[in-house]
């Protein structure tokens, strides 16, 4: 066992990114991986290194045996294990890196595994207890079966595959909520409509009575409130819904008020007018979450996130909130003397605490309506939710199990990113493999055929299949001969580096999905390192 301070040191560089909460989530996660090729071991490596993934659990399902090629391209198999189970070998070698981690291998073909689940449900427990499923270089039939099961259980799944220099990463998650998105938002200073304590503080300062030194240390929050008041009085109006030119007038006023031209805090305030002299508006992403159907009803099964969002709705409807989110309590650094800054910090912190108390009342109402105890949501969760109310995010991807002949849900985005042909070719390649029982460009079916000739023929067939798909989607899009040729050229064998890039992305997305921090991508990512085209949508 490692002590807390050991851990703090060992995981220092990542704790700076996702803190203790994120680390705890990683340590409790359970990841199930189908496939044991380089894609699998490279994805897992990045999860095993930073944390004991799961309370002892990451599971690799595959029946492949170690070949000579594996030894030369998959770093996490042992040369001495030639011919043995590849899943077991990568589990052993990954665990050797981090003694905190426990992994296990299931020597079963993913296709067989999926059939068992579909027929008897005998292996479904493994899947249902997973926090994340990863399908590495699996046939589309396996991906779709897994995706369908994961979708109904709201377990995120990542499917990754590659064709030589080209890789594709697809994520499906029914619903993924993020409280700590680490999004950067504009500072929430509320100078246009100061709350009572802030108004009182601003009023307690008389700029005319200050000497030039003290003036140079008045924080921009106070300067902005003073300037807005002055502007409103001069124009005999209320400061709201300001136009750009009116904002500029306030900035000019601030520069006039400066004791010496260019005084830093007045300059700072003048440039802050752009972001601060606007009416309060809920961030677009938060608005969407509040307008979601799930934000409107609750019952005993409602997830904590939606319980909190329900409470937030009621909070925003209350007279207390005046339509503004609970304040986070944080303010940016600004030019000021220590005392003024510390005072301001306290004022905003107290505001945040008052907001939280009010929010809690609404939460208790919500919990009551849902027949849940008042301590159903932990106080840490409430704290984090209020602190991040303006940064909430929700990700709902499209499912991965739809019929390949249906228009891909992200077709427009794929087209815009210049990777629709790639997407079509990946799907066509799977259809080719189903039809011919071999990958395009792989010779074993016709051992006497010249490989270059075979590749040419396969590229032609693959191209036709991809074009047929596009026309069944009723999308006009050219597929370049060269791109089809590049797909076939790969024989759908893995290149270590491309698998490692893709594995890095898989791990990055896995970490985001497991910790519920940062924002995962929204579905499909294609990385074409043969043509330096990379798009994700």
């Amino acid at each position: 066992m490692r002590t807390d301070s050991d851990k703090a040191q060992l995981y220092d560089r990542q704790l700076r990114l996702w803190q203790k909460d994120g680390q705890a989530a990683l340590e409790q996660a359970r990841v199930v991986v189908f496939g044991s090729s380089t894609l699998a071991s490279e994805s897992l490596k990045n999860l095993v290194l930073p944390a004991p993934v799961g309370v002892g659990e990451f599971v690799v399902v595959d029946d492949a045996q170690i070949s000579d090629g594996d030894i030369r391209t998959n770093f996490f198999v042992r040369p001495a294990d030639l011919g043995l189970s590849r899943a077991q070998s990568i589990v052993d070698n990954l665990c050797e890196m981090n003694p905190d981690v426990h992994g296990s291998a299931i020597a079963k073909a993913p296709t067989e595994f999926v059939e068992l689940i579909q027929k008897s449900g005998s292996e479904s427990e493994l899947l249902d207890s997973a926090s994340l499923v990863v399908a590495c270089a699996q046939p589309e039939a396996v991906v779709r079966a897994l995706a369908s099961r994961c979708w109904s259980a709201n377990i995120p799944i990542i499917a990754v595959t590659n064709a030589g220099f080209i890789a594709e990463i697809r994520t499906a998650v029914y619903e993924h909520s993020i409280v700590e998105s680490h999004a950067s938002g504009r500072p929430d200073l509320r100078v246009m409509a100061p709350f009572t304590a802030l108004r009182d503080y601003a009023d307690s300062i008389n700029l005319d009575a200050l000497d030039s030194t003290d003036l140079a240390h008045v924080p921009l929050v106070v300067l902005l409130i003073k300037a807005i008041d002055k502007w409103a009085a001069a124009n005999n109006t209320k400061a709201s819904g300001l136009s750009l030119s009116q904002t500029k007038e306030i900035a000019a006023l601030l520069r006039q008020m400066a004791p010496t031209p260019g005084e830093e805090n007045f300059e700072e305030a003048a440039s802050a007018t752009n972001t601060s002299c606007t009416d309060y508006e809920l961030p677009g992403e938060v608005k969407l979450i509040l307008d979601d159907a799930a934000a409107k009803t609750v019952n005993a099964q409602t997830s904590n996130f939606w319980l909190l969002v329900n409470a937030l709705r009621r909070y925003l409807e209350s007279e207390y909130s005046q339509g503004m989110l609970p304040h986070s309590g944080a303010i940016p650094d600004m030019k000021a003397d220590t005392l003024s800054y510390v005072n301001l910090q306290r004022i905003y912190k107290q505001k945040a605490e008052a907001d939280k108390r009010e929010f809690l009342c609404h939460l208790h109402d919500v919990l009551h309506d849902a027949d849940l105890p008042t301590d159903h949501v932990s106080s840490e969760q409430v704290d984090a939710f209020c602190r991040n109310a303006s940064k909430l995010r929700l990700v709902r991807t499209h499912p991965l199990d739809q019929d390949v002949r249906e228009v891909p849900p992200m077709a427009e985005d794929l087209q815009g990113g210049g990777v629709l042909p790639h997407y079509a070719l990946f799907r066509a390649a799977d259809m080719f493999a189903v039809k011919h029982k071999r990958h395009p460009g792989i010779v074993d079916a016709k051992p006497n055929m010249d490989i270059d000739e075979l590749c040419k023929q396969d590229a032609q067939e693959l191209l036709t299949m991809a074009k047929e798909l596009l026309s069944s989607w009723q999308i006009e899009e050219e597929v370049a001969d060269e791109l089809a040729a590049e797909f076939v050229r790969s024989g759908f064998m893995e290149l270590h580096n491309v698998s490692a890039v893709a594995g890095g992305v898989v791990a990055q997305e896995a970490i985001k999905l497991i910790t519920h921090q940062y924002v995962p991508h929204n579905g499909i990512c294609i990385i074409d390192t043969a043509n330096s085209i990379m798009a994700s949508c």
Partner: protein, 426 residues
């Protein structure tokens, strides 16, 4: 018929199949060399055996590279183990390059890997000339600038023999970047220096008198107090006792100003300017770098022109773009030239010739030769001290074929001019 049966790996397949759609790819070159042979004989230097370096080494070996050098002057710290996967707890304190090389040797005994527990500046020129290319996984801007300037000059002096592409990777948290630097062909590292923001610093008067943030208190303890109390001891960010001292001082100061939030982790972060680092970002950038190395060596696909950014904080976002050479670049913005002069002519004659030169047309040139300042137009004291050189004859100052660095108000950076003595054929 193509030897497909022997293709047990993806890379072998790519190197042995015809690919008419890939410009410049040949199964056999005019010199009779196959891409596989190019890969086999390529000699790659990995600079840095840290988070990126460990990944780069693994990626090179698993791509089929056979000759690898790794250089790093650092030793292993416990906080490296969360991502530098060639190191184990028992290795803490040992040189990174040596432990990493030994791990690779154990895993792939057929690879020829050499460790250098040294500074890059300490390797001889012949070593650099023996390389095919360099993959850089460094976090120090200064070291990257050094290798960039050095390698640029190697290409300048040796032509193709000195042409050593640098593939440079860098990461910070969930973000990373990669550059393919082809010396004398595209933007060098210094051309893009603006993209790397300088280290965060705080105004010293804020630190001294009006602290607002816990960081201000930590800087007060580490920048102002430490050198005052321990004038002869350097603050070591890796020494727990040192950081604890900083934490204690900073905490007292913070308390007196009603500031909260001083922790050991924050203090160490500020003192060492720690950049968060995780395995997955390093994996992405390192593998993208080695992927470019494979393409450069074998021509099996187009290499990146010439930069790529990756951000993973919100979504997955890759952006490839060409970075252009900068006219004011201190490395590749330098102009080149040569001049003939009599060995007996004076430095003043040379300066006049530089001014009257039809191409250079300089106004007020200042000249140095290596560490020697030959003539400075300004400031006064340097001018006075270097003035006696004006009347000296050139062969008293340097040998024929020497290259001088010339700055002038008309030049965006400088001119490197090689002076040949016309009366003494060199």
């Amino acid at each position: 018929m193509a030897p497909v049966a022997s293709c047990t790996t993806g890379i072998e397949r790519f190197l042995t199949l015809k690919a008419p759609h890939v410009e410049d790819f040949e199964l056999v070159t005019e010199e009779g060399e196959t891409p596989q042979q190019m890969l086999d004989k390529a000699n790659v230097l990995v600079i840095g055996a840290g988070g990126l370096g460990c990944e780069i080494l693994k990626d090179l070996v698993m791509s089929g590279f056979k000759n690898i050098h790794v250089i790093d002057m650092d030793t292993i710290d416990v906080s490296n183990l969360n991502r530098q996967f060639l190191f184990r707890k028992k290795d803490v304190g040992k040189p990174k390059a040596e432990v990493a090389a030994e791990f690779i040797r154990q895993r792939s005994p057929d690879v020829n890997i050499t460790a250098h527990y040294k500074r890059i500046q300490d390797m001889p020129e012949e070593f650099y000339l023996s390389l095919s290319l360099i993959v850089c996984g460094l976090d120090s801007i200064e070291a990257r600038r050094w290798i960039n300037a050095f390698i640029y000059n190697l290409a300048e002096r040796h032509g193709y023999e000195g042409f050593k592409p640098i593939i440079d990777g860098g990461t910070e948290g969930l973000r990373g970047n990669m550059r393919v630097i082809l010396p004398k062909h595209n933007a060098c590292f210094d051309c893009g220096l603006d993209m790397y923001p300088p280290k965060t610093t705080y105004p010293i008067c804020t630190i001294a008198n009006t602290p607002r943030l816990p960081e201000h208190c930590i800087e007060w303890a580490s920048v102002l107090e430490w050198p005052r109390i321990f004038p002869d001891k350097k603050l070591d960010g890796d020494d727990v006792d040192h950081i604890n001292w900083v934490v204690e001082q900073a905490s007292q100061r913070a308390a007196s100003f009603n500031i909260s939030g001083i922790t050991f982790s924050l203090a160490q972060g500020v003192v060492k300017n720690i950049i968060p680092a995780i395995a997955s970002t390093n994996a992405i950038i390192a593998a993208a770098c080695v992927n470019e190395a494979v393409k450069l060596i074998t021509s099996c696909n187009k290499y990146l022109d010439n930069s790529m950014l990756y951000t993973g904080d919100a979504g997955v976002y890759f952006f490839a773009y060409p970075l252009f050479q900068s006219e004011t670049c201190l490395v590749c913005g330098q102009k080149e030239g040569s001049m003939d002069a009599l060995s007996t002519s004076t430095l003043e004659d040379l300066i006049t010739a530089l001014k009257e030169h039809s191409v250079f047309q300089l106004k007020a040139p200042s000249l140095t030769y290596g560490e020697t300042s030959l003539y400075f137009q300004k400031p006064k004291m340097l001018e006075e001290q270097t003035r006696p050189n004006l009347s000296k004859s050139l062969n008293d100052l340097f040998d024929s074929g020497s290259t001088l660095t010339v700055t002038d108000p008309t030049l965006p950076t400088s001119l490197r001019v090689t002076v040949n003595f016309s009366d003494k054929a060199s």
